[in-house]
C-alpha cells in the first residue's frame, strides 16, 4: 500500500513536471496568462506529490515494511528509529528521492515568493526547475525505484551500511544535497534571463541570497563530510582527495568564484558572459558529481552502490552543457559592449584574479579526478594521481587565494591610488611582517608554512584595521562606542561585514588545514597491559580490552589512559566494530581535542589469544579543531549576510 502510494505519486509528479515544461512554451506561442499560472501550479503539484512520496518512504522505513526492497536492504529490526529515518539517504534510490524532494521544496519556495514579480522570467524559471525535476522523477520512477517490491517478504532486513551509522550521517548528505540543489536557483534564473534575452543584473540581484545560501550549504556539507571522515573513518585524516570528495568539492569552487564575480557585474556591468558560464559550470558539476559517484567509472574508497543510472546522468549532463552553452552562444551578441577594466590595481582585477585562481583550482582537481580515465584511454593503463599531486598543485593556488582574500575586500574599485594602498595596507603589512619574524624566531622555519601563516595573519590584520578605521569614523560622527559602532556598521553594510566574518571563518579553516598538514606526528606500537607509548608531550598507556554485544554489532574496545605533560587526561576507548554483514571490522577512532592540537587514537588490531595485547596507532594533529570552529564562524557570517536586518539599505 505504502509502495503503491509512493510510486504513483512519483509518476503523477512526473506528469506535472511535463506540464511545467510544456506550458511556458505554449504560453510563449498562444495564450500567455492561463498557461503561465499553469506552470506555477505544476510546481506546487509536484511539491505535494513528491512530499507525499518521500513521507511514504520514510513511513515504510520507520514501520519496517520489508515488502519494499529498499527498506529490506537498508534497515533491520534492530536499527534504532533515527537511523531508520536517515535510511532515506542510505542508498542510491532514497538519495535520489531526497534530492528531488529538496529540489522541489526550493522550486516551490521560489515560485511562491516571486509569484507577483518577474512576470516575464518566472515561467521560464519554473520550466527549468520542472526540467531538472522531470529528469530526477523519471530516474526515480523507472530506473531506480525506491518503492520496488521484494518477494518473498524477508523476516528481517539487511541493514544500513555500518559506516553510515553515525550522527553526522543525519546531516552530511542533506546539507550537501541542499547545497547542490540550491545552485539550481541561480542557474534557473540565469537560463530564464538568457531565454527572455534580458541579460541585465536583475537575475543576479534576485538570486543573491539564494546563491549565498547554496554556497553556505555546500561549505557546511563538505565540512561535515570532513568531520565525519575524521572521526568515523578512523584514518586520522579529513580529506583524501578521493574522487567522491572531489565531486562534492568541485561545485564549491565555481560557486565561490561566482559569488565574487557577480559583485563586479552588479557594480561595473562587466563579466556578464563569465558569470553566466560560471553558474552553468557550477550547476553542471552538481550533476557531474552524482554521475561520478553513481556510475562507478572511477574506483573510489567510497563504495557506493552503482546502478544503471550512470548513463542517464551522463546524457542529462550532455544535455545541460550543450543546451546551456548553446543558449549562451545564441545570445552572445547581447553580452557584448561591456566597460573595460580601468586598472590592474583595483577591486575588479582582484576579484578577476580570484576567479582565475578558483577556476584553475577547479581545472587541476577535475584533471586529477578523471586522470585514471585519460591515462587508460590514451595509454591503456589506469594510473591514479594521489594526494601528492593534488596537494602540490592546489596549495600554491590556495595561498594566492588567501592573499587575494586580504586585498580584494579592501582595495578600491576602478583604480586604487598609491595613497589609497598605503592607507589600507601599510599597517597590516607591517603587522604581518612582524608576525612572520616572530614565527620564524619561535620555530616555523619551512617556507610554505611560514608564508601560509603570514598570509593568514595579513588577512586578519587588513580586516581588523579596516574595521577599526570605520569604528573610529563612527565615534567621530555619532559618538558610538565599539559595540554600538559594530552594530551600526553591520546593519549599514551587511554584505561587507558578513563577508568579513565569512573570510575570518575561511582563515580559521585554512589555519587548521595548514597546521595539521605540516606538523602532524604519528606512531604505532603493539602494547601489552600497562605498557605505554610516548609521542610528543603525550604518553598513552594501555589498560585492557573489553568486548560487548551491541544492537547491530559486536564491539571490541581498548582502554587507553592519556597523559599530557604528565597530567592524567582520562581514559579513552577506541574500538573495532564487527558487523555480521561485513567482512572486515570497522574502526571507531577516538580523539581528545584542544585548541592547540588533537590526539587521535586508532585501535588497529588486538591479539585474539592474549586479551592483554593491542596494536595502537596514535596521531597528534595540531590545530585541527580550528577547522570546525571556522565552520561555525562561516555560519555566523552567512547569517549576517542574508538575514534581513533593518531597512537601512534595501539591497542587503
Amino acid at each position: 500500500m505504502t509502495a503503491i502510494l509512493g510510486h504513483s505519486s512519483i509518476v503523477l509528479a512526473l506528469l506535472a513536471a511535463l506540464v511545467g515544461i510544456a506550458s511556458p512554451l505554449i504560453a510563449a506561442r498562444f495564450e500567455p496568462e492561463r498557461f503561465r499560472t499553469a506552470a506555477r501550479y505544476s510546481i506546487f503539484g509536484q511539491f505535494i506529490l513528491v512530499t507525499l512520496a518521500a513521507l511514504a518512504l520514510i513511513y515504510g522505513l520507520v514501520a519496517l515494511d520489508f515488502s519494499i526492497k529498499y527498506v529490506a536492504f537498508n534497515t533491520t529490526r534492530a536499527t534504532p528509529i533515527y537511523y531508520r529515518v536517515t535510511g532515506l539517504w542510505g542508498a542510491l534510490e532514497g538519495s535520489l528521492l531526497l534530492w528531488e524532494w529538496i529540489l522541489i521544496i526550493f522550486a516551490g519556495i521560489v515560485a511562491w515568493i516571486y509569484r507577483q514579480r518577474h512576470h516575464e522570467m518566472m515561467p521560464w524559471v519554473v520550466m527549468i526547475f520542472s526540467l531538472v525535476s522531470a529528469f530526477f522523477l523519471a530516474v526515480i520512477a523507472f530506473l531506480s525505484n525506491p518503492f520496488e517490491a521484494i518477494f518473498p517478504v524477508p523476516a528481517d532486513g539487511r541493514g544500513l551500511n555500518p559506516l553510515l551509522e553515525d550522527a553526522n550521517m543525519m546531516t552530511h548528505p542533506p546539507l550537501l544535497y541542499t547545497g547542490f540543489v540550491g545552485l539550481t536557483v541561480p542557474y534557473a534564473f540565469a537560463m530564464a534571463a538568457l531565454i527572455v534575452g534580458k541579460i541585465d543584473e536583475a537575475w543576479i540581484t534576485t538570486t543573491r541570497r539564494w546563491t549565498i545560501t547554496a554556497w553556505f550549504f555546500l561549505t557546511a556539507g563538505n565540512l561535515v563530510g570532513a568531520w565525519w571522515s575524521y572521526h568515523v573513518l578512523g584514518w586520522g585524516g579529513y580529506w583524501a582527495w578521493d574522487p567522491v570528495e572531489n565531486a562534492a568539492f568541485m561545485p564549491w569552487l565555481p560557486a565561490t568564484a561566482f559569488l565574487h564575480s557577480v559583485q563586479v557585474q552588479e557594480r561595473r556591468r562587466m563579466l556578464k558572459l563569465w558569470n553566466l558560464s560560471l553558474i552553468i559550470v557550477a550547476f553542471s558539476l552538481t550533476i557531474f558529481g552524482t554521475f561520478l559517484t553513481r556510475s562507478g567509472i572511477i574506483s573510489s574508497i567510497h563504495a557506493f552502490s552503482s546502478g544503471p543510472v550512470g548513463g542517464f546522468f551522463l546524457a542529462f549532463l550532455a544535455f545541460i552543457l550543450i543546451g546551456s552553452f548553446g543558449l549562451l552562444a545564441y545570445r552572445a551578441d547581447l553580452l557584448k559592449d561591456q566597460p573595460e577594466l580601468d586598472s590592474v590595481v583595483s577591486r575588479e582585477s582582484a576579484f578577476l584574479l580570484n576567479n582565475i585562481v578558483l577556476v584553475s583550482a577547479l581545472f587541476t582537481i577535475f584533471l586529477g579526478t578523471v586522470f585514471p580515465l585519460i591515462s587508460e584511454a590514451v595509454a591503456g593503463v589506469q594510473v591514479s594521481v594521489g594526494a601528492p599531486y593534488f596537494n602540490s598543485v592546489t596549495v600554491p593556488l590556495f595561498l594566492l587565494l588567501v592573499f587575494l582574500m586580504a586585498v580584494g575586500p579592501i582595495i578600491a574599485w576602478r583604480r586604487a591610488s598609491w595613497d589609497n594602498l598605503r592607507r589600507n595596507f601599510l599597517w597590516p603589512a607591517c603587522v604581518s611582517l612582524l608576525f612572520a619574524i616572530g614565527l620564524f624566531v619561535w620555530k616555523v622555519r619551512e617556507f610554505l608554512p611560514l608564508l601560509g601563516f603570514t598570509l593568514l595573519a595579513f588577512v586578519v590584520a587588513t580586516m581588523l584595521y579596516d574595521t577599526a578605521l570605520a569604528l573610529r569614523a563612527r565615534r567621530r560622527i555619532a559618538g558610538e562606542g565599539v559595540l554600538r559602532g559594530l552594530v551600526t556598521l553591520t546593519r549599514r553594510n551587511q554584505r561587507r561585514y558578513g563577508g568579513f566574518v565569512v573570510h575570518l571563518g575561511v582563515v580559521l579553516i585554512i589555519l587548521g588545514i595548514a597546521g595539521s598538514m605540516t606538523y602532524s606526528r604519528e606512531k604505532d606500537a603493539t602494547l601489552a597491559l600497562q605498557q605505554s607509548l610516548e609521542i610528543g608531550s603525550y604518553r598513552v598507556q594501555f589498560e585492557g580490552l573489553q568486548g560487548s554485544q551491541q544492537p547491530t554489532h559486536f564491539r571490541v574496545e581498548g582502554a587507553f589512559r592519556i597523559f599530557h605533560n604528565g597530567a592524567d587526561q582520562g581514559v579513552v576507548t577506541p574500538a573495532l566494530k564487527f558487523f555480521p554483514t561485513q567482512q572486515s571490522p570497522i574502526g571507531r577512532a577516538v580523539h581528545q581535542s584542544s585548541l592547540s592540537e588533537d590526539i587521535y587514537l586508532i585501535l588497529s588490531g588486538f591479539s585474539e589469544v592474549d586479551r592483554n595485547q593491542a596494536t595502537l596507532k596514535v596521531l597528534v594533529r595540531p590545530l585541527v579543531i580550528w577547522m570546525w570552529i571556522g565552520g561555525f564562524v562561516i555560519t555566523l557570517g552567512t547569517l549576517i549576510c542574508i538575514l534581513p536586518m533593518g531597512k537601512l539599505r534595501p539591497d542587503c
Binding site: I298, I322, V381
Partner: protein
C-alpha cells in the same frame, strides 16, 4: 557568429563527455596489473645484516618478494603467516625476500625481531624498487618464476596458504591473470 561560438563550446564539451562515456567500457575495480607475466625489474638491495643481494642471484628459483613497513598494520597481521610459509619451503628451490619501504632502520629491525623473521630482509633506500614495482599500498607481494617473470601480485595482507599455492605456480611458471587484494594501507 553564434554558430562559431556554439562550435567552440561543443569542441570543448564533446571530448569531456566522450571521455566520461568511455568510462563505461571498462570496470574500474578490476584492472589487470601491467606487471603480470612480464620480466621482473632488476634491483639490488642491502640486507639488514649488511650483505647485498641482487634479484639476478635468484634466477632458477621461485621468488616470493614482499614489500612492508613496520608502521603498517596489515603487515603486522601477515608477518606470522609469511614466516610460517617460509619455514615450510625453505629447504626447497624457493626464496623469500622482504623489502622495507619508507621505514627507519631501528623500527624495521624491531619489527623483524618481534615476529622472529628468519628469511632475508633489506630496505629500499632510494625508494626506486617500490617505484619500479608500482607499489601503492602495502604490504604488497610479488611472485617471480625461475625465469624471472612476475607470475602473481597481491596487494594487501596475504595468508600462508595462498603464499604456498602461488609459489608452487611460480615454480612451474604459471602466471595468474589477475592480481589479488587483501587489507592494505596506502604508501605515504
Amino acid at each position: 557568429m553564434p554558430i562559431r561560438r556554439l562550435i567552440i563550446a561543443i569542441l570543448i564539451i564533446g571530448p569531456i563527455l566522450a571521455l566520461l562515456a568511455f568510462g563505461f567500457s571498462r570496470d574500474a575495480k578490476y584492472i589487470r596489473s601491467p606487471l603480470l607475466a612480464k620480466p621482473a625489474a632488476p634491483f639490488t638491495v642491502t640486507l639488514f645484516d649488511g650483505k647485498k643481494i641482487t634479484l639476478e642471484d635468484f634466477r632458477g628459483k621461485a621468488v616470493f618478494l614482499n614489500f612492508w613497513a613496520s608502521w603498517c598494520a596489515p603487515c603486522r597481521a601477515e608477518a606470522h603467516d609469511l614466516e610460517a610459509a617460509w619455514q615450510k619451503v625453505k629447504d626447497r628451490n624457493m626464496v623469500f625476500l622482504g623489502v622495507a619501504l619508507q621505514d627507519s632502520d631501528p623500527a624495521s629491525k624491531e619489527f623483524l625481531k618481534e615476529f622472529n623473521v628468519t628469511y632475508p630482509n633489506g630496505k629500499d633506500e632510494s625508494g626506486k624498487i617500490a617505484v619500479d614495482y608500482g607499489t601503492w599500498g602495502i604490504p604488497e607481494s610479488f611472485f617471480i618464476d625461475p625465469q624471472g617473470r612476475i607470475t602473481y601480485k597481491h596487494v594487501g595482507g596475504i595468508r600462508a596458504s595462498l603464499v604456498l599455492e602461488k609459489l608452487e605456480e611460480a615454480a612451474r611458471g604459471i602466471a595468474s591473470a589477475q592480481e589479488g587484494r587483501g587489507d592494505y594501507q596506502g604508501v605515504r
